[in-house]
Symmetry: C2
Subunit: 389 residues, 2 copies
């Protein structure tokens, strides 16, 4: 029996629309083939979310073909047939002999395919920044007549502008993030182990919200007293105590799409300093969203946030956010002063206002939003509170 | 107040022992400094498990210094001070201006440090295979008088041989894996959503076992009918049905250490073909463990497994396992025919007997084991059953 196609997260027309954008960009860059290797970009162009990116794989977009071709480890082929919108004949499994083989690997299978298709003397795009240097050398050597063009982030920039269908998916992810945060508020108590709270919250993120389950695990950070100045610790073996502060960052996931959320909680009354910091950050958050209008820039958002926070007597050293979508961060536009990326409707950002000020003061709040003509529209429905437990 | 040190997962003497091994290898390779960038290798040499590896960071091991130095994004410094066994003065935060900056990044901070320390004209080791090509070019350009030596997997090979303390940690992780698998058997029922089962299992992996919580999330795969020929799908929005087969792969985590486990479950009586495949695989598993003796080779294990499975009328195309430890796979020794790595006591492997035969037949069983003088000793305490639900 052949592997059945799964129901797709998006209609075929949505994938073809994305591919049309990519092919226009390929023409601008004068390439005939693009080898997409970043997992999030493969998800974007095909619907594939299976976790096979630990070995070489590539989605080949060719100007000649409506659908892309996926070259992957043979054992991962059935998942690709199941999940991708493309015809099953376009999933090509390479043999196991290319795994843990120092001489030939899955990239050789990709190059073989390009050469067989007669693309060996044309422009070939690679996401070079995320490829091992030996792999790039291999392309240059084996496709010696090709013009190898660095297309790092070419697809990622296209991903930056979401369709309405993608916004729906990010709202579904946001509802899951909200459910997780409410679960945190419900379960965190003095004497509870951090791990037990994390277990409950993560289970909520997997069960999902509104009948729509989470479809994957994303990053999860729980940085509690005395670790509130850390930002990327999962959780510890410690327990919560009266007076503990808990900084949370996580996201629900829907078919790859994330909608990250941060909130700070306090067991008992928060210290005055923390309260003042919270007030300044929330004022900054609101100023930032007001500036997140079509035609403005990423820099405008950062300027609005920083100026407002400064009025409240605080500074934030790190950027105040970044483009967000499939697999969380898009390494393209940054919400920082000087980033002149022009805001367009349905660009989405994680307005990440985590502020780790010194070794014993850290505070977090964040929202994921989309750009509209009248300002940033947050996906979360949670209040902008310093949650007191 | 300064960030306090967390209690360490291992005594200082254990980290110094590991560093001594690394320095011996550095002398063999005639380098004075080694820039360790692989997150699992950083964990191994310092105790650090915070998730800051999405931006440049490096643990610098120098022949001159007993303790290594960690160069990381400034906001991640407090977590390093908290988690690493090294003195706080050895954690160096680079400024936020190096984030999302096309001209200078965290690797420049690492190169600056090497040059300042007078190591710019010596041998410098890099884990080149896992670094972007532009980063390697940057080292060559900015440390032009240094001899850049590719040390990919140098630390990883040292990690391959576990201390007794590490074996204890892997047994703790295995107990968590076992608890997760028993939870799966308990909760999977017809009509239940896959996501709801995943939520319960993952929560169990976080809560841990024997009073020791899981300390991180690791990969998690639940490939159920009609997807049993896939290997790397998280779970779906589907429900279980009478007759469903469920292939599970996951691991508990203790301070970075994993102990992966796979089992196949069946709602109702498994088909005869699946039962025969199970019998062959279990016989192969036992033959493989019997061959996993000090002085044998990885190839011996694969030969024993393959010959036994073949006697039962089946073949497995993919390798039958790989070295395992921190962050799951160690990309070094493979359990495949022709891998002549000599087995030593306390090498640990994931004997991964997942067998995805065609588009509608897939079966999984696996155990994580250590090499002993008398054969492989599995960490799981679960029976080698095809679990019937």
């Amino acid at each position: 029996m052949a592997m059945p196609k799964n129901s797709q997260a998006f209609p075929r027309s949505e994938y073809l629309r994305r591919l049309t954008e990519v092919k226009l960009e390929m023409k601008r860059r004068e390439i005939d083939a693009l080898v997409v290797t970043t997992p999030a970009n493969i998800t974007y162009l095909s619907g594939y979310t299976s976790k096979s990116g630990y070995v070489p794989q590539g989605l080949l977009v060719s100007l000649e073909d409506e659908e892309p071709t996926f070259i992957t480890r043979r054992m991962d082929g059935p998942a690709a047939i199941h999940q991708m919108f493309i015809d099953r004949s376009r999933v090509i499994g390479y043999p196991e002999a290319l795994i843990a083989n120092p001489d030939r690997d899955g990239y050789d299978a990709i190059i073989d395919f390009l050469l067989d298709k007669g693309l060996g003397s044309r422009g070939i795009g690679l996401e070079a920044k995320f490829l091992p240097s030996l792999t790039i050398e291999k392309f240059r050597l084996r496709a010696a007549e090709a013009r190898i063009v660095d297309c790092t982030n070419a697809v990622t920039w296209i991903r930056g502008l979401k369709s309405d269908l993608e916004i729906v998916m990010m709202r579904e992810a946001a509802a899951i993030s909200d459910a997780g945060m409410l679960k945190a508020k419900e379960v965190i108590r003095p004497g509870l182990r951090e791990a037990d709270a994390a277990a409950e919250i993560i289970a909520t993120l997997v069960r999902g919200a509104n009948g729509k389950p989470g479809t994957d695990l994303a990053s999860f950070f729980m940085c509690s007293t005395p670790r509130t100045s850390t930002c990327h610790i999962r959780w510890t073996e410690d327990i919560f105590r009266p007076g503990s502060q808990i900084n949370l960052e996580f996201s629900g996931v829907r078919h790859g799409y994330t909608s990250p959320l941060m909130r700070t909680m306090s067991i008992g009354r928060p210290a005055d300093h923390l309260r003042r910091l919270h007030d300044g950050e929330v004022a900054g958050l609101e100023a930032a969203l007001a500036a997140a209008k079509t035609g403005g820039t990423c820099s405008d958002i950062a300027v609005a946030f920083n100026a407002t926070l400064r009025k409240h007597g605080f500074e934030k050293e790190s950027r105040c956010g970044y483009a967000v979508g499939i697999d969380w961060t898009e390494p393209t536009a940054s919400l920082k002063e000087g980033d002149m990326t022009v805001l367009q409707p349905n660009m989405t950002f994680h307005l990440m206002l985590g502020n780790w000020i010194d070794e014993d003061v850290g505070y977090v709040i964040s929202e994921t939003f989309r750009v509209t003509d009248t300002g940033g529209e947050s996906f979360t429905k949670l209040p902008r509170e310093l949650f007191e437990i």
